[in-house]
């Protein structure tokens, strides 16, 4: 089967996965939370409540409510977000690009640091360098996020600021005062991208500075995993017979490693990084909260702590949608890397 036929079939299957997800989230949210909460406050007159219930369809049987929910979902009528004080779809529209920007930044760091470290570690197997890299990656895996975030804030933002040195911003997405002075028109919502194509380099560089600490925090947690997978798969590949062939037929060591071994070793790394990227796109709850980064993760924390059912459900559906989509992408890249895989 051709790759694009496979992709179409997978996208078709994606609909069923999402149906499953919506059934689960809908069921759970109706058990745990009361959707009325978004529309009723302490000032609402009790006699007005049945009318609101009727308008939201809450007086109907459960399965009818689910169908109404699905209708709303496909027409982008995702309900009112109590924590954002705006429709959920609008809140996501503002916050999702921020998360995407953060995800891309940390993903770039993860790959650029994690993969080379893993390869060096494999090539210098069991040397001091290898042990140092392994300790570093183990640290990354085992360190608590909040501790790392606070430590980075303290050492790169607070300490230099107190000492009167240039410091990195520790919260937000951009300096608000600066933004007032040099506003950026929203095109994609990706602040750096938008400001760059409008020639606004002041905001672009400020937004980039704001990304550094949260992106480093997020990246550090996953670099370890990528390093370890890259290391072990490189070691595995270097033991393979076809590497002996390449050497026995007089290819230079540099080429044996960076061409013949690397492409094979990158196959497992691709799977892992796809999943990592999916996770990053779904929002980094703790990191975004600590750095007051206005992404989806932060919104979700607010939503969870105030039982905002519409926001939570929207987030869950969107996150699972991203995960499934990224998985499909990984499978396609996989087929490109490994010709033995046929769909």
């Amino acid at each position: 089967m051709k790759l694009y036929e496979y992709s179409i079939r997978r996208i078709f299957l994606l609909i069923f996965v999402l149906l499953g997800v919506t059934i689960l989230t809908f069921y759970l949210s109706r058990i745990v939370l009361n959707p009325l909460g978004a529309y009723v406050t302490e000032r609402t007159r009790p006699e007005a409540i049945p009318a609101i219930e009727k308008r939201l369809g809450l007086d109907k049987p459960f399965y009818i409510q689910y169908i109404i929910y699905l209708q709303d979902l496909v027409t982008f009528n995702w309900g009112w977000s109590r924590v954002a004080h705006m429709p959920v779809i609008e809140a996501l529209f503002y916050r999702f690009p921020a998360t995407v920007e953060l995800a891309i930044a940390s993903f770039i760091i993860i790959i650029l640091v994690g993969v080379p470290l893993g390869i060096i570690s494999a090539l210098k197997n069991n040397s001091v360098v290898d042990h140092a890299i392994r300790i570093f990656s183990l640290t990354g895996i085992s360190i608590p996020v909040f501790w790392l975030a606070l430590t980075l804030q303290y050492s790169f933002s607070y300490l230099p600021k107190v000492a009167g040195l240039p410091s990195l911003p520790s919260n937000g997405r951009v300096d608000a005062l600066l933004y007032q002075q040099y506003p950026v028109n929203r095109i994609t919502g990706l602040m750096i991208f938008d400001s760059l194509i409008q020639g606004n380099f002041i905001i672009a560089s400020d937004a980039l500075l704001h990304l550094i600490l949260p992106a480093m925090t997020l990246a550090f947690l996953s670099i370890g995993a990528v390093t370890r997978v890259a290391r072990s798969s490189m070691l595995e590949v270097l033991r393979q017979d076809y590497i002996s062939t390449a050497r026995a037929y007089g290819l230079p060591e540099r080429m044996v490693i960076y061409k013949y071994a690397l492409k094979n070793a990158m196959i497992p790394v691709t799977t892992l990084s796809g999943l990592l990227f999916g996770g990053l796109l779904a929002g980094a709850i703790i990191t975004e909260s600590i750095f007051a980064f206005p992404g989806m993760g932060q919104l979700t924390v607010f939503a969870i702590s105030s039982n905002d059912s519409y926001t939570i459900m929207a987030f869950t559906v969107l996150a699972s949608f991203i995960y499934v989509l990224i998985n499909l992408l990984v499978d396609i890249v996989y087929a490109k890397l490994d010709p033995r895989i046929k769909y």
Binding site: N125, Q240, D241, Y242, S244, T245, A246, R247, A248, Y249, G250, L251, P252, E253, M255, K259, Y260, K263, N264, I267, L337, D338, P339, R340
Partner: protein, 327 residues
């Protein structure tokens, strides 16, 4: 003399201890000669091959010995010089064609890379495109030589799209395209079924005759040696125990181990009872003192258990055994 291996000692450092893989391997190979190296699994045949190529794994060490190839001791060459020798003068054909081709690159890429780094004509070309084109033509020509059907199409394929015999022919073509002086065929036909094995051996024989190549044919199949080699060497526990003209070694074996091997070989021409060699291969972490075969040898004497037997010439074969040499 093209290749002369002298007193080669190789050790592997493992968690179990030091494995004495080769304990003084010596043999000579003349130009145009085909030498069969036989022995059971673990006797050191492949380690010998990898030592000559200097491609031993990182935990192995060549403790002492000499590998003189065309007047140069390979063990003293720089890594870069050794790489050139590997590509241009000594080619290896490995055991399992299924695992010795890189699965994620097309045959074309792998073949052309080998040519571009080793073929003097193609290496000298400045124009990269031109070099690619000439390399491609040369690859096609070599594949035709190994009787590969539709070589242009095969070059555009991935290894998993080829059969075992085809893959082995690709590897053969790659090895012979470098016009080496010595071919090391390390169990090159073991993983193939018998008919394909016969075809591959036939191709190897033709190419060997055409270029007057020297071949070190490593196998555990004495039949393959009988049909293809002029000389045979029998290895046991990291040492060559008997070496000589193939007819002499296989028809009137001198060493008790060779005799045992031949008695254990089924025959089609007459009814004989198959007799196995008692005991098992010694553990090379703790090899026995004296002759490594003394625990299984029906003729073992007191001296066999204490001293390693030297080589003696007996009716044209060189044997390492105290039964000969008047002692």
């Amino acid at each position: 003399m093209l290749l002369s291996v002298r007193d080669l000692i190789v050790e592997f450092y493992t968690y179990r201890g030091i494995v004495h893989a080769l304990n003084g391997v010596s043999f000579d190979l003349d130009k145009g000669e085909v030498l069969g190296l036989a022995g059971e699994t673990g006797s050191g045949k492949s380690v010998t091959a990898f030592s000559i190529q200097r491609l031993l794994p990182a935990n192995a060490k060549i403790v002492s010995g000499k590998i003189v190839f065309d007047g140069v001791d390979l063990l003293e060459l720089s890594e870069e010089k050794m790489r050139e020798i590997r590509g241009q003068r000594i080619a290896t054909i490995f055991q399992d064609p299924h695992t010795y081709l890189n699965p994620v690159f097309k045959i074309e890429r792998q073949f052309l890379d080998v040519l571009k780094y080793n073929d003097p004509e193609i290496k000298a070309l400045e124009n990269k495109k031109e070099a690619e084109r000439i390399a491609f033509e040369k690859a096609v020509e070599m594949l035709k030589k190994v009787k590969m059907p539709a070589p242009e199409r095969v070059l555009k394929m991935y290894p998993h799209e080829l059969s075992g015999g085809m893959k082995q022919r690709v590897l053969l073509a790659m090895a012979y395209s470098l016009t080496p002086d010595l071919i090391i065929a390390d169990e090159a036909t073991t993983a193939l079924d018998v008919t394909i094995q016969a075809q591959v051996l036939e191709i190897m024989k033709e190419l060997q005759k055409e270029k007057n190549l020297s071949v070190l044919l490593i196998t555990h199949d004495l039949g393959v040696i009988a049909e293809n080699c002029q000389k045979a060497a029998i290895m046991y526990a990291g040492r060559v125990v008997e070496i000589g003209d193939v007819k002499k070694v296989l028809i009137s074996p001198k060493h008790p181990y060779t005799q045992g091997l031949l008695k254990a070989l089924p025959r089609t021409d007459k009814e004989v009872e198959l007799v196995g060699i008692p005991g098992t291969v010694p553990d090379l972490v703790n090899p026995p003192t004296g002759c490594a075969f003394n625990l299984r040898c029906p003729y073992a004497k007191e001296i066999c258990r204490t001293k390693v037997p030297p080589y003696t010439l007996e009716e044209g074969s060189t044997v390492a055994c105290y039964l000969y040499g008047g002692k």
